[in-house]
Each structure stands twice: as structure tokens, then as C-alpha cells.
């Protein structure tokens, strides 16, 4: 009898130890090379930092988090293959990609597998296709672009606007919404310029902007191209105020564009310069670990992991099938989960609501000019 009890106790202990040791597996597919390398590297580093912190404090429900990183090469075709491979390993949640085009082609795979996908894409259409497994880490363009258009119209008093955008899903999505909103508000779009990802020479585009002589220029390109066009705008002496959304005034752009970035303004859902204590602490931890100041993608990756933590703790169990249902309609308060940095609410489409910021580049630094409150 004694020996049976002993064996039983041992088996129970082994099972418990095994359950404790069993890690929660996350899969990340990000732009670690190619045109989106800045995006993907920041995103990955944010994820790694959050996981390190959470594991150091005992993990989620007593289980450690583990992540595998795969490189989409900033190519939607490669992203799809990498996501398929990642899903074959049956992760708890899929993280990434950051490019909207890559999210668009990978979201159906995650939905089919019934796995929640927490991504960095901002194209408006992503969460409008009825996919119940897709979640944002930042504003979609349908939330941010109306704020941008309103600022251009109300604050910049621009009657005419030139819109420059990158010819991919991200750029086209933003361009469509902002033009519609500008039109609704009564600002006329006098130049509508498409550019290519990886484009080096912006002389012709800036020449067209100069010829159109707008009251304001809205720039919606990826980071490196944003830096190049800022340099060219300065070189050709364009004096119209420059407005962007997140990418235009990112840290990497400021580093690459130098003086040419000064004066550029933008709406940002996330910035490490936000006057929020938890965000400042994040910036300090990230900079200490990686020796550089992250852009908004670092924040997105970090928040993605804390979304996983908060949702799982809300459920009280690790259940990949119920994860998406739980996250829909969930409000995560920074007071309860400091890793989420700011109070955030997720709606039924996977879109989020939280406060945002209007920033300007002043002497090579982002300066927050206004804090815009949560919509609801």
C-alpha cells in the first residue's frame, strides 16, 4: 500500500513538473531582412524583451513562453510559406508579420488553423474581411487616417495637399482613406504620387510636388524611403509643412535623414517619446538591452506578447481555440498589466482603441505636441 502511494505521489509530481516545464510556444514570422528589416528587427527585439521579462517573473500561469522567429524576407510569398511552416508546429499564438501585404496573405492560414494572429500591419482592409482571428497591435488606417486628415485640414489649414505614398498594400490603404477624408473635409488633393518600395531617387517625385505647390504634403512611405524623400524635399527647397503617420517621424528615419527630418510632423499611435511613465520605462529597458532607441515596431512586438499574457490570464488556462474569443471586446488596463503600457480595448474586428500622439521632429528628436485621447 505504502509503495503504491509512493509511486502515485511520484507520478503526480512528475506530471506536475512536466506541466510546469512545458513551455507555451509562440511563433513569430517577421521582416528580418529585405525592405522591412527595420520593421522586423524592432518587432522581434520587442518580442524577445517581453518574453525575457515575463519568464523572469515566472511565466504565464506558471509556464514559460518560448518563441521561434522566422524571416519573411519582406516578401509576402515567403511570409506565407513561413507562416504555414510555423502553424504546422501548432503554436499557441502566431505573432507577425509587420507588413500589411504579408498579413493579408497569411491571415487566412492562421484563421483556418483557428490560431489567433497578433500582427503589426496597419492597412485598413485587414480587419474588415471578417477574420475573427486577426488582432492589431496598433491603429489601423481607418482609425489613424481620419485623425491625420483632420489635423491637415484644421490645424495646418491646408486647402491643397500633395499625397505621396508607397505602392504596396500599406501605402495604398493609407492613401485611399486619407484622400477620402481630405475630400470630405474640403482639402483638395493636387498631387497624388505613387512611389516604389526601395526607390532611391526621389528627384522626379519632389519635382512634381514643387510644381503642384501644395499647402501641405502628406508622406506615407516605408522608413528608408521616408528618409530619402525628406532629404530630397529639403534639397529642392520645399517649404510646405510635411505630415505623416508613424513612419515619417520614426527614430530610424530621423537617424537616416538627419537635419532633413526637422519640422516633419506625424500622428503616431505608439512612440517611445510618449509622456507615459510605463512607455518611458520600456524605452529605457529596450535601449539598455539593444543599445538603440526602438521605433514603434519595437513597442508593437512588446505589446503583442503582453496581449498574449493578459488574455491567457483572463482565461485562466492556455487554450488556443478560445484565445481569439476572449481577446474580442477585452479591455486591458495598464494598472492591472503594466506590460500593456496604456489602457487598450479590442473590438469585435480585432481593431483597438487607445490614446495616441501628435509629434514633431525638433532638432533631431521626436517631441510630442498633443496627446489624443481614446475614441471611446
Amino acid at each position: 500500500m505504502k509503495s503504491t502511494l509512493l509511486v502515485g505521489a511520484l507520478l503526480t509530481a512528475m506530471t506536475a513538473t512536466s506541466a510546469f516545464a512545458q513551455a507555451i510556444k509562440l511563433a513569430d514570422v517577421a521582416e528580418l531582412s529585405g525592405g522591412g528589416a527595420t520593421v522586423g528587427t524592432n518587432w522581434k527585439n520587442g518580442i524577445d524583451l517581453a518574453i525575457e521579462e515575463i519568464n523572469a517573473k515566472g511565466g504565464v500561469l506558471g509556464r514559460k513562453l518560448e518563441v521561434t522567429h522566422a524571416d519573411s524576407q519582406s516578401n509576402p510569398g515567403v511570409a506565407r510559406a513561413q507562416v504555414q511552416k510555423a502553424l504546422d508546429a501548432e503554436p499557441y499564438v502566431l505573432l507577425g508579420p509587420g507588413y500589411s501585404g504579408s498579413v493579408k496573405v497569411t491571415a487566412p492560414l492562421a484563421a483556418e488553423a483557428g490560431i489567433a494572429q497578433i500582427m503589426g500591419g496597419e492597412a485598413a482592409e485587414l480587419t474588415q474581411a471578417g477574420n475573427k482571428f486577426l488582432f492589431r497591435t496598433s491603429f489601423g488606417q481607418q482609425s489613424s487616417m481620419p485623425k491625420v486628415a483632420k489635423y491637415i485640414h484644421d490645424e495646418m489649414k491646408a486647402k491643397t495637399v500633395a499625397v505621396v505614398w508607397v505602392n504596396n498594400d500599406f501605402g495604398r490603404g493609407g492613401r485611399d482613406v486619407v484622400i477620402k477624408e481630405l475630400d470630405r473635409l474640403g482639402s483638395k488633393v493636387v498631387a497624388d504620387l505613387s512611389t516604389e518600395a526601395g526607390q532611391a531617387d526621389f528627384a522626379a517625385d519632389v519635382g512634381k510636388i514643387k510644381a503642384a505647390n501644395p499647402d501641405a504634403v502628406f508622406i506615407y512611405l516605408n522608413e528608408e524611403e521616408s528618409a530619402r524623400i525628406l532629404k530630397e524635399l529639403k534639397r529642392q527647397g520645399v517649404t510646405a509643412p510635411l505630415m505623416g503617420e508613424t513612419t515619417l517621424i520614426g527614430q530610424k528615419v530621423i537617424e537616416l535623414a538627419g537635419d532633413a527630418a526637422n519640422g516633419a510632423r506625424g500622428h503616431v499611435g505608439l512612440t517611445t517619446d510618449a509622456p507615459v511613465d510605463l512607455v518611458k520605462q520600456f524605452r529605457e529597458k529596450f535601449s539598455k538591452k539593444y543599445n538603440y532607441v526602438p521605433d514603434h515596431n519595437g513597442l508593437k512586438g512588446y505589446l503583442a506578447v503582453y496581449m498574449v499574457k493578459a488574455t491567457t490570464e483572463k482565461m485562466g488556462k492556455v487554450d488556443p481555440k478560445k484565445f481569439a474569443d476572449t481577446l474580442h471586446g477585452l479591455t486591458i488596463k495598464a494598472a492591472d498589466e503594466p506590460g500593456i503600457l496604456m489602457d487598450v480595448t479590442f473590438d469585435q474586428n480585432g481593431d483597438l482603441d487607445r490614446q495616441s500622439f501628435l509629434v514633431e521632429v525638433v532638432e533631431g528628436k521626436q517631441v510630442v505636441k498633443q496627446v489624443l485621447p481614446k475614441v471611446k
Binding site: 528589416a37 505602392n167 504620387l193 522626379a204 517625385d205 530619402r228 534639397r235 529642392q236 538627419g258
Partner: protein, 291 residues
Amino acid sequence: MSNLFDLLVAGLATGAIYALVAVGFTLLWQTSQTINFAQGEFVMLPAFLMLAAMHAGAPFWLAIILGILLSMILLGLAFKLLLVDPMMRHGVLPLAIATMALAIGIKEAVKQFFSAEASPFPSIVPTGDISILGHAVSLQSIGVLVVAILAVFGLSTLLNRTSLGHQMQAAAQNPTVARIIGVPVERMILLTFVINAFLVALASLLITPIYLAKFSSGEVLGQAAFIAAIVGGFNQVRGAIAGGLLIGVLDNLAAAYVSTQYRAAVPMIFLIAVILFRPQGLLGRAEERTV
């Protein structure tokens, strides 16, 4: 049309870079009848060698000298002796494939040892503008154009006006006869590779402040220069120069006057037209094939 002048200058400056890189294609084609598909990466690497020297504490001018010297050793001598010579024995196709592998190797190595992110790179030319005919023209564009023209002029002088250049041309045109008349063919071919390495290092120095130092920047550049070399004439240095300038200008004019959305397609359409109607390129000479 008021900005036509600006567009031409900017296009010529970009085109001059394509020309420098395209010349490398033609030099190697003439001497070894091969296409170096790593030519774009050859332009990307010197910038990182210079950045590495600067990170190690070298001033910019010293980093430039070290970068150019290292490029001549790695991308000229080592490339010829360690890759081209051994692979050449197996034919032109295996060699071309080996250069593709080399391109991937260089790209991945730079990504691994430096960063996947772009880095700023100092310019040897001041960043201001000067006024020409009432137009503000970037000093950087003028600098790129002038240095590229000087480099190409120097190369033409070397090839056409010096004994060394004549020997190089003889070695390229008919190695057997050149050997009979006492030309050290192997040494001349090696010299061609070193000159190519010097040109790509120069191109790297000129273009990186504009394109930014990034492991993948050779892809776009290599492709543009390859198109330029075909358009101009793969077997003529002057063809490569003309092709480079033409593609640079065409790209800018297409963006301004045709469509920014389809600017990337215009050089490709031009390339197809050239291949269809003048396969040897605009300034190239038709090569006879012995059956």
C-alpha cells in the same frame, strides 16, 4: 517642363553610377566571357568595409583608402584567383552560377556581421546646392557625375592611350595571338579584375550616401547596371557608359512625365525593345558565332 533641367542632372548623376557598375560587367565579359552576378554586391560591400574601418576608429579619409585597397584585394585579386580561375575550368555557366552564390554569400555575411538595417554613410561631397542657369543643383549630384566621368575618362585613357591598355585590349580580344606577341595575358586579365574592383569601390563611395548602407542595396543596383550594360552593348565600355546614363535619365523622365506608378516598367520596356531591334546593344558590336 520647368524642372526638366533638374531631372536631367539628377538622372545623369544616378546614371553615372549605373555606368560605373555597368563598365565592370563589360570589362569582365571581355576578359573572361562571364557575367558577374555579384556585381551589385561588389558595390555594396566596400561601403561596409569603410564603415567597419570607421567603427574601428579610422578617420573617413583613411577608411576610404582602406576600403578601396581591401576591395581591390578581395573583389579583384581574391575573386579572380579563388573563384574565377578554379570555376572557369568547368565552363562559363558554372562560373556564372558561382557568382550568384557569391552574391548571396556576401549579402548574408554583411547582414550577419553588421546589421539588416540601413545605416547612414558620410558623403565625400558637401550636401549643399549650387545655382546653374537659375536652377539649384545638388553638389552631391554634380560630384557623383564628375567623379564618374573622371573615372571613366581615366579608364578610357588607360585602355586606348597606354601600352598597358593596348596589352589589356589585346589580351581580351585574342588571348592566343596576344601570348604569341609576348603580352602577359594572365597578368592583364588579373589587372582588369583589379580595375573593376577599384571602380565598384568608387561607385560604392559615391552612391552609399544616397542609397544608404544596406546589405540588400546591391540587388537594385546590380539589376539597373545589368540592364544598362545590355542596352548600351555588353562588349563595349562606351556602350556601358551610354547605357548607364540613358537608364538613369529615362527613369527620372518616366517618373515625371509618364507615370510614377509605372516608372520601374519603363527601363524594362526599353530593354525589351533594344533586345528585339538591336540585340548587340545601342553601341555594341555584333559578335560572330563559330559553329
